[in-house]
Amino acid sequence: MSLIPMDKDGFGAVPNSGKTDVKYDVVICGVGGQGAILASDILGRAAVAEGRAIQAAETHGMAQRGGSVENHVRIGSAYGSLIPPGSADLMIALEPVEAVRYARLMKEGGVIIVNTEPVYPFTVTTGKAEYPGLSQMLEALSKVFDVQAFNATDVAAQTGNRQATNVVMIGAASHYIPLQKQTFIDCIRVLVPPEFLDINLAAFEAGLKSIRK
């Protein structure tokens, strides 16, 4: 029988492996098609490269058809991949309304990096719903969180491709995430197709410069 005595603490073995000394929970949210998965891939791969335990949960399937997407990335977690409400350290919001939608996951004083470029859902374009004012949303979030807002889509466009908005956001977020800047760059080199590498490396640097910690 697979019967083993519990360890001295009486809590038993911890699943999976990797360093768990630093814990840092990141929510990446936005709209299906904005590249939230690549952003979480860069983050996760960087964590693995630095030997940290990592768990992530992603939105695939139906929700990707322009729906709201929510990815959780837990650096230093040996357990589950879902971030309990009120405890995330950082949010990377690729779209402002989505920042508000998932704010409940954030801990008080947590950092919200938000791309201010709106993506209107069809409920808004067809006049069934209103899109809230940008300044209202940012001011409200600022009451509780450390909000870092800038137009990452414009920054990406200036570096050559709007599609690189996600990488601009990772660049900005790298100020806060407890991983080395060089590790992110190494991971971008692996994950991005060669023909888009220069644009993405430039996007990362531009994102880094877009906010000051």
Binding site: H60, G86, K143
Partner: protein, 609 residues
């Protein structure tokens, strides 16, 4: 040792490549699709891989290969196993020669599904072993173990994944790649392969007789492990991914308890009895059905155990579990065993201030893409049949037609056509027009259409033909003209299939030709019998990837009367400027031109370069 950050499904695919598998088959379905998508993209395949037309076929293809002696792996989503239940229930009697694994990916919380059935029930029903991995690493590693186990006990096995395994990511330690181990050599053995009553009768007893031996083998393995805490009379029994959440909650609350992890079935009776003997109170934490719990209660009764067993209610039976839920349940039933400060820490977070919660957020449900061919078909169907007609629909992107008011029913793959004919024969006088995609039609819609024609139904069937299985990530199907690995194959002619089934009204139209669509559906509505309209156009995402580029369209502002007809069409590329009261077309336009045909005032035109 190499560690890689991997999607659960990619890790499972890697597990297949490390297992000596010789054949992979399946039908796409969230959250299982990326397993075969990853395998079919591999260079130098050492195994055969196919997308089959449905899950029943996929399992039968794999049984054939396994009977010939090679290792076969089948993938599907949980509801796909319903389609494959027929071969499943009998191959369990027959057993297998080469290893046979059926992977079904469950979707607790119904992220992308029509129900949240628990595949462990099927394993129990079919009397075959089931692995329910707790982590992504386990999900990879279990594949090789399950193949060995399948061959050792000559039984098919089920691997049950869940959304949080399949669509989770973690660091995974890789093993060595292993090419197909077995050589195909079909040896005739009617007593094992011909399940006619005479042979099948004996097999039922044989498979029941194997259960104990399989249970004991799994009890020796690392898949079912009891960590016994001598100083505690409290026990937790937890299964699959829930065991990870339960362990985290246990640590967070400082509870000292024995812990039995169950990730393989049949369940470890001796370990459970050990727990019953050692503990005064046992909490069973499992996602969805109380399968472990029921078994623990049976063993407790058989052994006259006085141990208190707690399971469903307080542990929820609906939706997926998580750390939070496990912690709440533990505080609820094991409060005296928690560290006080840890319970205080578990208090719910401070609510967000009203400034944030008062903001009314626009809903952002998934929607049909810009230029999606389904949108024009739905628009015309609504116009021709009127909103009082009945619109049965099916499983695919076009279920999103619910936003256009033209999806009245969705039950399972292929049901649109059969339900439509049921409605027409019920005495209901309203017109009936059902919608079904090409892949779903070929999956199980063909039978339904044959049935409708055979039974003289009067209804219209719209086959929304975009030549791909789009919703699950653009897998090819018999209609595409290529196999899973990109080899050319003869595309099925949907019109010829319908004709062969006896349909005498068949019209093939281009989804972007609005007038032709209207004519086709008007004629179809007037036809006395089963009329079929095949609406063709490539999936907009596939077309873009293939480099198809059309000129975009724009609103000629001076012609726009602000009637909002284009806006109500619902394409995300059309927007309305409230200040000027005219429409405009944003940068997402792919130039399908349908809105220009809908506009009554010629106010939308192609932007010629």
């Amino acid at each position: 040792m190499t560690k890689e950050y991997m999607l659960g499904n990619v890790a499972i695919a890697r597990g297949v490549m490390e297992s000596g598998a010789g054949m992979v088959s399946g039908y796409p379905g969230t959250p299982s699709s990326e397993i075969i998508d990853n395998l079919r993209a591999q260079k130098d395949l050492g195994f055969y891989v196919e997308w089959s037309v449905n899950e029943k076929v996929a399992v039968e293809v794999a049984i054939g290969a396994a009977f010939a002696g090679i290792r076969a792996f089948v993938t599907m989503k949980h509801v796909g196993l319903n389609v494959a239940a027929d071969p499943l229930m009998t191959v369990s009697y027959a057993g297998t020669k080469g290893g046979l694994i059926i992977l079904a990916a469950d979707d607790p919380s119904l992220h992308s599904s029509q129900n949240e059935q628990d595949t462990r029930r099927y394993a129990q029903f079919a009397q075959i072993p089931c692995f329910d991995p707790a982590t992504i690493q386990d999900a990879k590693d279990v594949v090789s173990f399950a193949f060995d186990f399948s061959e050792r006990f000559e039984t098919p096995v089920i691997i049950r994944s869940t959304t949080r395994i399949s669509h989770g990511k973690s660091s995974v330690e890789l093993g060595e790649l292993k090419p197909s181990t077995n050589v195909a050599d079909f040896q005739k053995d009617p007593s094992r392969m011909v399940m006619m009553p005479n042979f099948a009768r004996g097999r039922h007893g044989v498979i029941l007789g194997k259960q104990k031996e399989m249970m004991e083998a799994l009890e020796e393995s690392s898949w079912n492990v009891l960590e016994k805490c001598e100083g505690s009379r409290i026990g937790i029994i937890s299964s699959g991914i829930a065991s990870v959440y339960a362990k985290e909650a246990l640590h967070a609350l400082g509870i000292k308890a024995s812990f039995l992890k169950i990730t393989a079935y049949p369940m470890p009776d001796n370990l459970i009895i050990e727990m019953l003997n050692h503990c005064d109170k046992i909490l069973v934490i499992e996602e969805l059905e109380p399968i472990v719990e029921d078994h623990v209660r049976i063993l407790a009764q058989q052994n006259q155990s006085a141990t208190v067993i707690i399971g469903k209610n307080p542990v929820p039976r609906v939706f997926e579990l998580n750390f939070e839920i496990c912690r709440r349940v533990m505080i609820d039933v094991l409060k005296d065993h928690c560290v006080v400060s840890a319970v205080e820490k578990a208090a719910p977070p401070k609510p967000l201030p009203p400034e944030i919660t008062d903001i009314v957020l626009p809903p952002r449900p998934p929607a049909l893409c810009v230029g999606c061919s389904h949108r024009s078909a739905f628009q015309v169907i609504k116009e021709v049949f009127g909103k009082n007609a009945i619109f049965p629909s099916d499983i695919g992107c076009y279920t999103l037609g619910i936003h256009s008011g033209v999806v009245d029913t969705t039950i399972c793959m292929g049901a649109s056509i059969s339900m439509a004919s049921g409605i027409t024969h019920s005495g209901e006088k309203k017109a009936v027009c059902c919608t079904i995609g090409d892949s779903t039609f070929l999956h199980t819609g063909v039978n339904s259409l044959m049935n409708a024609v055979y039974n003289n139904s009067k209804m219209t069937v719209a086959i929304l033909d975009n030549r791909i299985t789009a919703m699950t990530g653009h897998q090819p199907n018999p209609n595409t003209g290529q196999t899973a690995v990109g080899v050319e194959s003869i595309p099925v002619s949907l019109a010829d299939v319908c004709a062969a089934l006896g349909a005498s009204f068949i019209r093939v139209v281009d989804a972007y030709d609005y007038e032709a669509l209207k004519t086709a559906f008007r004629d179809a509505k007037n036809f006395d019998g089963v009329s079929v309209v095949i609406v063709q156009q490539a999936c907009a995402i596939v077309a873009r990837k293939l480099g198809v580029k059309n000129n975009p369209y724009a609103v000629i502002t001076k012609n726009c009367k602000g009637c909002r007809k284009c806006i109500n069409f619902g394409c995300p590329a059309t927007e309305f400027n409230k200040e000027t009261a005219v429409s405009f077309i944003n940068s997402q336009c792919i130039g399908c031109g349908v809105c220009a045909q809908i506009c009554p005032f010629d106010a939308i035109a192609e932007v010629k370069k």
